[in-house]
Symmetry: C2
């Protein structure tokens, strides 16, 4: 396989030349029904990616098509699916797709079929969840579990939390709600104390999630919880589960009710469809619901194999993002779901994207001379319209936008005000925003002038179901992966988190004496460390 | 008063010249104990702003000092305090400081003393809250109110919600917790349905917050709630309060238990210290707690009058931000509170900053030729360290950082793991991150190399109390105000939100026939509007 830095490709030069003479605003002048209707790309579970309001013309699309071929983006995805070591820095395979189903060869490691391993773990925790629901597994007083609390941070928190919130009301409506779920992540002791405050520990099951079993925050919070359980006269071993790797100190440990396993080929931010998300979601909603998420994700993964960029939503989304980042020079992207259930989905995508592609070296460690991953942020609409959209509409810089919306609400409870229900108002706002950003509106009063020319895409579907959620999640994972391939970097390691860990240890070891850096000591003093 | 576009000032040229030859990384090589110790600026309620790790040297500070004088930033602040029309686009005074106490002349409007008016409203809702707590005011079945639900969006939601979450655990610890508070904002019908699900309506008090009394989302949610109340056999008029302006349809309306007033001089995003935040916070924690927030904010406001930029935290924070935005060309800022209680504070600051200064015209409507407000985003630490910090440390672009931390936790419940409690670990991480970002660490392995040179500031205090929270809130309000003065724009209007509203109405009025824009119609069709 050919691995070339982006700026060494011939498509890079072609795209740069196109950008130099690009007249983006003319595209929006021509944004009409036909353009909107013709630029829809379905990608699984009824979801469709529409790029009519993206600032890209046929010439740019043709160059992006060449780029996809030149960097062999589909070929690299297939290698990844087949178990090639794509996480070069850590010398690891990248197998989160395999959690959802097999699309490539059998992947073996030391004689073990990893697809089978992941499937077995899925069935093990599905059974465990069913036993909890049936009251066969209870807390140390025999009380049925009613609440599951996940203790984890980063990928063990943001993805699972976003997915839980996305389906909490759906499950209530569909009658599949089982346990309530809560999350403890921060080492700030107020986080754990707040989550535990007022809850009934006797009916609470804690899920400790750490692949290595050595995450500082998670272990501190585990001790915090065990201390509370013991003080309440409960046996911690009857209230704790572990999701970890088989080689971690948490594995096969009598301190836990049970342990479920992932391995080094499932990166934290890609682990929502493993036991990291699966245990708590199966406990909260039933394993069948979690399996629907996997099914939707698998559909997205399959759609991402399509070689034609105009029929591959994740690939196209990735390529247009590269065009915006490297040639239109937009350093950020906003994710704007018109669905309150997706309130924390942007926080998950922020991790997914920024931790994967916020890199300055290529996959072999060579220095890169072009921009890589953008800053990603977002909040649900219509809330954002009354907040930061001011800058998006009239600020001095352009922020590319990624809208998400659904035809139906999750709960279907609604009220008619002035001739329309709220769900209709929500969607009318979404459609209106896309046009307002793209076309703007001229005014003699410069303060009321909208320049337009602000690009957006729209992912839309019928309703936010478990399958749609899975497809949405995988779409963004695959988008980020393809961008990493374009940029020739490793989207699957995170060396940037290490230095802070080392310095933290130095501070804690110093205990008030010198850490070896006088400025660090002084900051510690200010904060009364 | 002199109002000059920033690029027409002589300090602009001086700063641009300095930036051209600026060697920022040398500053961090010299970051030592003395620099950290000497760059602390207290600003109220025990909070201090430290700028030792900002990429600014004495020459830049001297030029920023000239800028403050040339644009007469303190003089403009005083005019604002005295009731001058600083919201030029809407021809309004800007009086949120007066909510916290008087620092300028008496402000009169049509013979009415507005300071007195604000104080009277504060006392009116303080008394109302006390009556609710005492059980003198109850729901329509005579049941005591136990939950307050705010219905509002944008400034009526983000600020009050951030403040409530910031003090929820503190109040539990201090024994001042009264009513639980919840928030409905989005027009997505799932939002209201989720908040109401499972709650006891008979003991719930709803606070409808809309200055104009015409906000689409808020009125839709009001109807939703009234419908639920009526169906539960309750009298909505005994369960609803209004916070609005005296001229709105909600004022003096028998459909509400009572109404509390603000006026056009309190902008939505600046209204957290008015009844918009005050009613729900007084109900939740008692009016004395809310008054402590006001006291802290007032201290910040007073500190912001200091003419010496090195002794004025808000002014200095603003000026360094301008240096970063216009001369070091960083288009974003991350806000990173090391306090789980501040989990939604960045979302409030995102609105505050981006809605205030995301403008392209000056205060008279003239086109601006320089960058204005940055994109603002953030999540609490240490969570972010396991997420988007990868890009902050090793991404291709530099993101200026604003850390916030406290010596003590709010609840004081903690556990010792490996020789340190969690609060100590939290602070050790914070100190370590500042140094890691500033100094980096060279490595032969480029993937493990940290360039450093990434600037941050730190706001720190003893504990996140109501007064500290008020001081923090006002610090950022004043920072944003000073930046608006530098950029010669109006930080107090938001014309950018209007176009979307107009187009939404067109879609809703069209009801499936043409809205007048064929692309808009097609998007509406895709979303089944």
């Amino acid at each position: 396989m050919n691995y070339t830095d982006f700026d060494k490709t011939s498509s890079y030069k072609k795209l740069a030349a196109l950008a130099a003479n690009f007249r983006g605003k003319e595209i929006f002048a021509k944004l009409d029904e036909a353009r909107v209707r013709s630029r829809n790309v379905p990608f699984g579970a009824g979801l469709t990616y529409n790029y009519a309001a993206k600032k890209v013309d046929d010439a740019a699309l043709a160059a992006l098509r060449e780029l996809a071929a030149e960097q062999d983006l589909i070929g690299k995805y297939k290698l990844l699916l087949d178990g090639e070591v794509m996480n070069t820095g850590e010398n690891r395979k990248v197998l989160h797709h395999l959690l959802r189903g097999q699309l490539g060869k059998d992947v073996l490691c030391e004689g073990k079929n990893l697809g089978t391993f992941y499937k077995n773990e899925l069935e093990r925790f599905s059974t465990f969840a069913a036993d909890v629901h049936a009251g066969k597994i209870t807390g140390s007083t025999g009380k049925k579990f009613t609440t599951a609390v996940q203790i984890g941070i980063g990928g063990s928190d943001l993805g699972p939390r976003a997915l839980y919130l996305a389906l909490e009301q759906w499950a209530r409506k569909e009658g599949t709600a089982k346990l309530a779920a809560r999350f403890i992540s921060n080492v700030d002791p107020d986080d754990a104390a707040a989550v535990l405050g007022g809850g009934d520990l006797a009916s609470t099951l804690f899920i400790l999630v750490s692949k290595s079993g050595t995450t500082q925050e998670t272990l501190a919070n585990e001790l915090f919880v065990k201390d509370k359980l013991s003080k309440a006269g409960l046996n911690p071993a009857k209230h704790l589960l572990a999701v970890t790797s088989e080689t971690s100190p948490l594995a096969r440990n009598s301190g836990y009710l049970d342990s479920f396993y992932i391995d080094d080929f499932i990166g934290g931010r890609y682990s929502a469809t493993s036991g990291v998300g699966g245990v708590i979601l199966s406990l909260a909603f039933g394993a069948d619901v979690f399996k629907e998420i996997l099914k939707g994700a698998h559909e997205s993964d399959r759609a991402a194999l399509e070689p034609d960029i105009l029929k591959n939503a994740a690939l196209l989304d990735a390529l247009i993002g590269v065009w915006e980042r490297n040639f239109l020079n937009y350093p950020y992207t906003a994710v704007l779901p018109y669905s309150q259930a997706l309130s924390r989905f942007p926080a998950h995508l922020q991790q997914l994207d920024m931790e994967s592609n916020g890199k300055s070296v290529n996959r072999s460690g060579g220095r890169l001379n072009y921009a890589t991953g953008p800053v990603v942020f977002g909040e649900p609409g219509t809330n954002g319209q009354h907040s930061f959209y001011q800058l998006l509409h009239q600020g001095t810089d352009i922020v590319p936008l990624q809208f998400i919306g659904f035809a139906e609400s999750q709960l279907g409870e609604d009220v008619d005000v002035e001739g329309s229900v709220s769900q209709t108002k929500l969607k009318a706002n979404l459609a209106a925003q896309i046009i307002a950003f793209a076309k703007g509106k001229a005014s003699d009063n410069p303060n009321k002038n909208f320049e337009g020319g602000r690009p957006s895409s729209l992912i839309y579907g019928k309703r936010l179901t478990p399958a749609a959620l899975g497809a949405l999640l995988a779409h963004f994972e695959n988008k980020v992966m393809f961008q990493g391939f374009v940029w020739n970097l490793n989207s699957f390691d995170q060396e940037g988190v290490q230095l802070g860990k080392i310095l933290t240890k130095q501070v804690l070891a110093a205990k008030g004496s010198s850490s070896g850096d006088s400025a660090l000591d002084e900051y510690s003093k200010l904060l009364e460390v």
